[in-house]
Subunit: 324 residues, 2 copies
Amino acid sequence: MDFHSVYQSYRAQLDQVEFTLHDRATSHQMVLAKASNQLLDAGGKRLRPLFALICGTTHQVDRNTRDEVPKLAAALEMIHMATLVHDDVIDQAAVRRGRPTVRSEYGNLAAMYTGDFLFARAIQLLAEVDNSDVHREMSLGMVRLCQGEIEQIRDFYNWDQSIKTYLRRIERKTALLIALSCALGARVSAANARDVSALRLFGHYTGMAFQIIDDILDFVGNEHVVGKPVGGDLRQGNLTLPALVAAQQPSVGARLRKLIHKDMEQSDAAEAVSMVLETKGLPVARTLAERYLSKALGVLERVSDRRVREELAVLTRFVADRSF
Amino acid sequence: MDFHSVYQSYRAQLDQVEFTLHDRATSHQMVLAKASNQLLDAGGKRLRPLFALICGTTHQVDRNTRDEVPKLAAALEMIHMATLVHDDVIDQAAVRRGRPTVRSEYGNLAAMYTGDFLFARAIQLLAEVDNSDVHREMSLGMVRLCQGEIEQIRDFYNWDQSIKTYLRRIERKTALLIALSCALGARVSAANARDVSALRLFGHYTGMAFQIIDDILDFVGNEHVVGKPVGGDLRQGNLTLPALVAAQQPSVGARLRKLIHKDMEQSDAAEAVSMVLETKGLPVARTLAERYLSKALGVLERVSDRRVREELAVLTRFVADRSF
């Protein structure tokens, strides 16, 4: 089984998710409709929906459930997109996935309300999923997501943050929603508590690994593939694992603090990016990502359904392979 | 029966709402906790909770319902507060209710996430209300609220907008959430469909009247009572009913367009405010507010419970009397 065959076997449901996303992103309000559709068309891997769909096959009880899982999957992607739009405001990002961001095209205020709109549309979709556990867990997740986003602002340009601070931040930023995708997919399909817990933990570890990999790719990726300028995080004062590890080397740390601050020059940022590349920042980050991946694959063994186990393992390895 | 006796009879439940608001606004994340509590402490009339509580007494079925109405009431106030924080970003407002706004104290980005956080906390509260009609109606309401907010941006400084555009905007901005407060309060207490509809319509008309009155007070109110500078809407390019009516007088219209635009001088704005005061803008706005009020009081007669009818009428007249 490879990634594409997994993807193929969820093709019909993913199409349904795609239809729902476009259907719900409509608004008679043109800016909202355009901005939302632009976000949708920019694509993305629809990973959260795919996780939800796979985990939503664990116990499937009736026809209702089969309709509810794609709704849940679409809602998860919409929440993800809402956070991306608000993140772009924070990052003052001009480009995402190779296209102009909503904020660069329509302004920060429109981006704020496009995020709100997508958030509200997601809630509306969730209201159609008749499962109070799903509502409870998702709403708590959203509260934690917001807390994570404000921590992000606090941590910008802050060289005094620990690796632990970074890990807590990416847990909120990425791992949380992937954990929810897995756990709630399972819940909607009436999986037992043991499977729900195992899948939530699997999603958590996988999400941690994915974000660390993303942060590595930001330093080494090809600009045209990643869709963002190389070293962009550091250039924006977003201190990720490779940079924080680099900064722990005394000489490098002092120099990095001098180069990367709120009023830095872009030439200084470029120098800082090269510096990080010469340290053990990247190999240490890779090792940590690998550790999270093996924890994720380990916890998968507790899941009762063999097909779910195998498909999730394939998916996780495929995404992880981008960086190794 | 006067306003204070109505208020008194809901004292215990309002205290419970207040407790819930403060309880749920907490976060280990200091900026969020401070910003949210600051908003709460700034007070406000808690009108939406009061409407929900009154309408939540229509049919009360069991003990669960008695706990659910204050939760719903607190959620409505939180959504209201979330929109206020995001509005302050749009308006670049420095002061609200006589205190510095979240955005002026912590910055636009923190204000954006404080709004998101309050929004998420409201959803979390609603998830504890076991009523799928409430979830459905509230989530649709939030979608419409967001659409209204983005229209607000579009309509800034736009003298070509019609009175109808203004009315549609305030419907989304104010009337919608008051209509929801009444309708959902009734729904949680298992009111019949006829009562729910009548109360929703009552809330709609009342909300329309309240916003028009607010817009009148912006021109004539005492700065210390209203908590905002007089004529502030016009100074920010927010064209409300009195200004739009004034602009329909040909000579005045041409002059207003010249004075109020994106790059205007503050002295020009002051002149524009005085001009509006000399037109029939305010009396026309008062007449329209009165028409909405009498529609609201008229539709109340369809509500089956006499106490609910009387309390809502008292409350509506009290708020309306501020401007007449």
